[in-house]
Symmetry: D3
């Protein structure tokens, strides 16, 4: 077993899990359930909550879905989460992220992980103008 | 002294630093040099390199400057860098980020810091489709 | 060579290392020395210090060993350390952690990695009641 | 303004926010709304989702609430989130965490943040036994 | 109370704590006990273990103490730990770190926090030569 | 495809990329272009900026190159970046880092990742002496 718990196949899933699986495939327009969802399905409440929240958050709103997926890539690259980097990069591309956009996204993520440490390392004080 | 090194005032700055200060104020359309730049100015090469790189990265390209500043907020919130959160939030607002956009940005950042840990914690394997 | 230094086998270990290996196997009730210990054994002082400290910390005290192993999983999932997630999950299970407990542990770890970033991102001020 | 957005007072809160505020105070047995909730209330959907999820996760289950709050402290200390450390330590104490338990919790959190980096730094390979 | 537990003053310290306090002041050549040690002293075993380990690690060896303090600054700036950044920068300076060395240290820390994210973000594969 | 973008081979590289590749091989004294550079080469501006900055930062200065590579290892082990740990450990060894130095480096990195969390977890206040 490579994951910490056995992923739950569609066949073995209890009905409360199957309902979520169906919604994931329908919403995403895919014909399989990605490993992430099949793995957390081992705790049905965790699966339901995570999917409902994610679906709500990633819906079009003040920000468009592609921008949201790129922000997800930025978070995942900062944390070094392989699964997340691969899945959100794939999703962002599907939604229109070009190679040029990916290159700029990575540049921005790299840059501010650098300046974050300069601000930390020198203990830079916030300018007063930020508090007005 | 609160920062680790004394910030360099415009008056005391050597000419190679003053040139960067002038460019920062002109490019940003502000009449003061933020503490971040005045602090790293204590190493003139670090100041120059960081500013030149940042200016190049944040220029309009495949991504617009507001989106880039929001990605900077995402990185900084993930890392917990106060100075960076305050400065990039301020910049993003100046470029048009509304309160609704900020709320969605924070929702996305929070969400994927959560799912990153679920993917880590369960050691979820990337789906084969990600490698095609 | 996959690790950065060659793990030290029991056969090749100097006596000061072998003493620690013996104690690890006896204390843990296992008949092999896990890779973590065999790898850091390349620096005998690091091995001894780390094992002595870990043994002292993980002994039953105000908190029981299973709770301590679950806290170790929480730290390791937050940091994304594969070796550590696998080993501490295995240890916690051996000490009685059920699948239901694992599911709740992951839910809690995910949740607070999210709220940590909301608190960071909005720079929420501690309530006065926390300082009383 | 010290937080990035103005916290929403009970008086100024729209009814959908007030409902959550009331539930927080009732569930927690407190007569004020902590800054964390008043700050994220600026995005009513974020407030509702976060509170509903947290309430569900922190309810007694396979793990007791005190253990869950201690895991929250472990995550928050690993990430360095001041607000979160203060609030979860306070909650854990209210639920029965003694000073001795806090000391052991901190010891465990410190220890595994150390060993996580040894495992990273030496790129230790998971033992085969972890995959059975 | 600002720290999570009341720091233990020399006067109120039990003898096992006082012994460590005396050793800290003697080893460091200072006439006060820094807050870090007074805070963790609330758990006497944690204080003793941490001090003994730190003293052993920071002693001159294959690396000189100033280099070790600079590595401590690098770790602390990466994690954003204010107390640690301030104390290790002060220690490194005492041991001879010049302003020029500090500037280069920060440049290196910033740079590799950037490239770490580029390697994460693009999921760069290790070159085969690294495994020979 | 295992990386997120196809690494750019020397043969397929446009001239602006080839110039950087040549400089990397010449400066490093190697006859191949490591995957890191071939991967980010997909964005030529990112490649050029990153290499120029790295070359400037890693040149001998107030700190020697071996010390700089060890600091890079410290950052990478703290963040858990496999590629970076492998490449900077290899570079540091080439520049003279012995096994004994590596052992001490890892000990220091582990130790301060631990104390960083104790300082965070207890919210230790900086001593006044740090601000003088």
């Amino acid at each position: 077993m490579k994951t910490i718990v056995e992923p739950v196949s569609y066949e073995d899933a209890p009905s409360e899990v199957r309902v979520v699986y169906d919604d994931i495939m329908k919403t995403r327009g895919i014909d399989f359930v990605p490993n992430f969802w099949r793995t957390i399905a081992h705790d049905a409440a965790l699966l339901r909550r995570t999917w409902e929240t994610l679906k709500e958050i990633m819906a079009p709103g003040a920000l468009d879905p592609m921008t949201k997926e790129m922000i997800a890539v930025a978070v995942s690259a900062t944390n070094g989460c392989e699964y997340c980097i691969r899945s959100h990069t794939a999703s962002a591309r599907k939604l229109g992220m070009s190679d040029a956009m990916l290159g700029e996204l990575m540049s921005v993520v790299g840059m501010f992980n650098e300046t974050n440490r300069l601000a930390f390392g020198y203990q830079v004080e916030p300018d007063e103008v930020f508090f007005k």
